[in-house]
């Protein structure tokens, strides 16, 4: 993998995480337990979507600068291959709507179903703690575009982190039932927290180039924050050490296929149209 390919994949990893998490959260819109929270969560979905768009736009710019032979090697999807053959440039929508599942690089965590409010809060909490420290570091990226997106996103992520931390505590230390539900969700989702800190080939190359973040450095910060909140929430840190992985390499859970079937439906059914 050369550096431009690594940088493209790296940017797509970030875009995909934001898009898929935003997609999941947006499923709550109109169905929240309290109207105020419905609105708050939709706001968060919008933040993630906005971040995804910035990353996809940046990825598209990088892609469009590649020589055609390199372009052809990036994505398997026939829809994208056709566009490349015709010499068309790609945009944010092509990357979100026309890539197939195995070219998505998001972590498995973000594609996991909402289930109930507890599962949703736990998933967001894991991601928010990570994003908070991650974007802090990414602000120093040598890629000015990535640094700028990180800076803008950090403000949003700071709010997300406060929101999910508060809900962890509120529900963990709420009623017996909410405590039970939170502990279950925490135990069930714990196995998806490890992948956040796995270094993909693109992660390694970009960290070395000063463009990306060495996520290993984030792990102790993540642990400390999570431990603190769990303690306040009277929740127990799960003991299991087994971690699921594969998303960053394009090996996903069954859930992603259904997400993409919905997300991509219009562009796949009515190709090459302006909306």
């Amino acid at each position: 993998m050369n550096e431009s390919t690594s940088q493209l994949i790296y940017t797509l990893q970030l875009a995909d995480n934001a898009l898929i998490l935003g997609h999941r959260i947006s499923e709550w819109c109109g169905h929240g337990p309290v109207l105020e929270q419905d609105i708050a969560l939709t706001n968060t979905a919008l933040d993630h979507l906005g971040q995804a768009r910035s990353f996809y736009q940046h990825a598209a710019e990088q892609f469009n600068l590649m020589p055609v032979e390199v372009k052809k090697q990036q994505f398997v999807s026939p829809a994208l291959q056709q566009k490349i053959d015709k010499g068309e440039s790609l945009d944010e929508d092509d990357l979100a709507y026309l890539r197939d599942g195995w070219d998505f690089r998001n972590v498995l965590l973000v594609e996991q179903p909402n289930k109930d409010w507890a599962y949703t809060v736990v998933r967001s909490f894991f991601a928010d703690v990570f994003n908070f420290y991650f974007y802090k570091e990414l602000q120093k990226s040598k890629d000015a575009a990535l640094a700028a997106i990180a800076e803008k996103s950090l403000k949003e992520v700071t709010y997300h982190l406060r929101w999910s931390s508060e809900w962890m505590i509120r529900l963990g230390d709420g009623t017996e039932e909410s405590h039970e539900r939170m502990q279950t969700a925490l135990n069930e989702r714990w196995a998806y927290s490890g992948e956040l800190f796995e270094m993909s080939a693109a992660d390694k190359a970009m960290a070395e180039a000063g463009i990306g973040v060495d996520v290993a450095t984030i792990k102790p910060l993540w642990d400390a924050h999570v431990d603190g909140i769990l303690q306040e929430a009277t929740l127990e840190k799960p003991a299991n050490k087994w971690m699921q992985s594969g998303g960053k390499d394009g090996r996903h859970s069954e859930h992603l296929g259904y997400i993409l079937a919905e997300l991509q439906f219009m562009q796949r059914a009515y190709p090459n149209m302006e909306w």
């Binding site: 997609h23 947006s26 499923e27 819109c29 109109g30 169905h31 929240g32 337990p33 309290v34 109207l35 105020e36 929270q37 419905d38 609105i39 939709t42 706001n43 979905a45 919008l46 979507l49 906005g50 995804a52 768009r53 996809y56 944010e92 929508d93 979100a96 709507y97 109930d116 409010w117 505590i169 509120r170 529900l171 230390d173 709420g174 009623t175 039932e177 909410s178 539900r181 997400i259 919905e262 997300l263 439906f265 219009m266 562009q267 009515y270 149209m273 302006e274 909306w275």
Partner: protein, 319 residues
């Protein structure tokens, strides 16, 4: 003051366009009518989140998705302002929800129609939000202060929604054959329900006179409907869509469009609960509410615990 003079004082305010505020004396019927109207409006906003929410995960571009999400979120915000306005009249939000869930309170029938294609997002914004604006702009000067103030905020956002919806329709109407077909099909399905949003015709609208007297209403249903039709027919022409009414004709003398007979049996059927989505909409709201019960209970329990802990701390410091 005697009841009589309370009434006189109230009437004077109404006549002089002085806003009635929560602490002012008001006739019981005025209060009841307002609670019914405002809560019905609030319910419409939150039930209205569902048909459009239906397309958030399927929006055809990231930009459209963001706009749609923001729109549906706005509707939630409208619900919030309106529930708060209704609460100033002495009813709680939980009571209002209960009325919605038991079918005692109504919401706008338009949301009992299904959103079958992406073009419905355009048609709803253009027609439904458009009709809502016609209905609501006069309410910015309605006699009850908190309601009028809520409506000022709501109307600003509704006109934004209307433009976004029209923009979606315009993009489709300028698009490929299938996109044009999507747009026309959506207009065909949403036209009649939209013009029914103004309510029954004036000769069959028993509450209109009293509501006009109280300045809760400023124009009659038929006046608003006519205004909407006049504006919207021109907008349809502009993008090459055909309004599905063969009797639609410009009437030079009246300076308005004449339009065909509205099928009021359909309207009353949907109001009575027999629309295509009445059951789904209500079930969805109830499910969200019931499944959220443990979350609300926990939030309440936690805030009580926190308060108790704080007081404990204070006591300890004092001792």
């Amino acid at each position: 003051m005697t009841v009589h003079s309370f009434q006189q004082h109230f009437d004077e305010k109404i006549d002089n366009d002085v806003a009635i505020e929560p602490r002012d004396w008001m006739p019981d019927d005025y209060r009841k009518t307002l609670i019914r109207q405002i809560s019905q409006h609030a319910h419409s906003e939150i039930v209205g989140m569902l048909p459009e929410g239906n397309w958030i995960t399927r929006a055809p571009s990231l930009r459209r998705k963001a706009v749609l999400l923001a729109k549906v979120q706005d509707e939630g915000g409208h619900g919030l302002y309106l529930y708060s306005a209704a609460e100033t009249l002495g009813i709680t939000r939980d009571e209002m929800y209960d009325q919605l869930h038991t079918g005692k309170a109504k919401y706008s029938s338009i949301f009992n129609y299904p959103t079958l294609t992406w073009a419905d997002m355009g048609a709803i914004g253009w027609l439904v939000d458009g009709a809502a604006i016609m209905n609501q702009v006069p309410l910015c000067r309605t006699s009850y202060g908190p309601y009028a103030r809520a409506m000022v905020r709501v109307c600003k956002e509704e006109s934004f929604h209307q433009r976004q919806g029209y923009e979606i329709m315009m993009a489709l109407a300028n698009g490929t054959d299938v996109q044009k077909k999507l747009a026309q099909d959506a207009l065909n399905r949403w036209w009649w329900p939209s013009i029914m949003m103004f309510g029954p015709p004036d000769d069959n609208s028993p509450n209109t006179a009293q509501s006009m007297r109280w300045r809760i209403k400023r124009f009659t249903n038929d006046e608003l409907r006519q205004k909407f039709i006049d504006v919207t027919v021109e907008q349809a022409k502009l993008i090459g869509l055909t309004v599905p009414d063969p009797d639609l004709k410009w009437n030079e003398e009246r300076g308005h469009y004449d339009y065909g007979a509205i099928d009021w049996t359909e309207f009353w059927d949907v109001v009575k609960g027999n629309g295509p989505c009445n059951k789904e909409r209500l079930e969805t709201r109830k499910k969200a509410w019931e499944e959220g019960a443990w979350v609300r209970d926990a939030a309440l329990a936690y805030s009580k615990k926190r308060k108790a802990r704080k007081e404990n701390k204070k006591d300890n410091l004092a001792a």
